[in-house]
């Protein structure tokens, strides 16, 4: 089975500062990796995904993430955050193939709060 650990439950930062949200995963096989964002009272939106190829993936709203296989990590970064980035961010994994590869396994989320 796969599992996802988001090391920080809350990350407060000031506007225009850089931010990194950490995600580590555990799996005995290769996985696909995802970051989702959830704004208050809304559903989740896909920020970016890693399936294969280049380990640095770029997503929407200026976010990017780097897949590190040796460290089983997929940390999310943004060089300069805005107030509007305040939201909860979820890391998730999925098997690329197999009987239950439609299931996403989520971490517990990181609440990013951007202060003026």
């Amino acid at each position: 089975a796969q599992s996802v650990t988001q090391l920080d439950s809350q990350v407060p930062v000031f506007e225009e500062a850089p931010v990194e949200l950490r995600c580590n995963y555990s799996s005995s096989v290769s996985v696909y990796l995802f970051w989702y964002v959830q704004y208050p009272n809304q559903g989740l939106q896909l920020l970016l995904k890693y399936l294969s190829g280049s380990t640095l993936v770029k997503g929407i709203n200026g976010f990017e993430a780097e897949f590190n296989k040796s460290q089983t990590s997929f940390h999310l970064r943004k060089p300069s955050v805005h107030i509007s980035d305040t939201a909860e961010y979820f890391c998730a994994v999925r098997l690329p193939r197999g009987g239950s590869n439609y299931k996403l396994t989520f971490g517990k989320g990181t609440l990013l709060t951007v202060n003026p």
Binding site: L44, A92, K103, G109
Partner: protein
């Protein structure tokens, strides 16, 4: 519609009552998921529907929980004899295809916030 629609957006119920939550997926999406999001927790998989195949119910936490889907349209999640630990946001998601076709992202609804008093 433009996105996944869930109703009601909020539901307060007394312990022991039954509740029914509704999900309207994006038209044409064959895959439909229900997830539960409890306070301070990640999303827990509940159930998955894909076309006319048998649903994957492996995530349903107890026999008080059940879900149905009519063809490739509306789904309802029913919780019988609600308990306080059922309080959570219930999220529905749909996708054009699932599994091997990884280019079909999940589209989530805004969820139903269930409070059991």
């Amino acid at each position: 519609g433009a996105g996944v629609s869930q109703s009601p957006s909020n539901k307060v119920t007394e312990k022991g009552k039954d509740v029914e939550l509704r999900c309207d997926p994006i038209s044409g999406h064959t895959a439909l998921y229900w997830y539960r999001q409890r306070l301070g927790q990640g999303l827990e998989f509940l159930i998955y529907f894909q076309g006319n195949s048998a649903p994957d119910k492996s995530g349903l936490p107890s026999d008080r929980f059940s879900a149905e889907r009519t063809g490739e349209s509306v789904s309802t999640l029913t919780i019988q004899r609600t308990q306080q630990e059922d309080s959570a946001v219930y999220l529905c998601a749909s996708s054009a295809r699932a599994g091997v076709t990884y280019n079909s992202p999940l589209h989530f609804g805004n969820g139903t916030r269930l409070t059991v008093t």
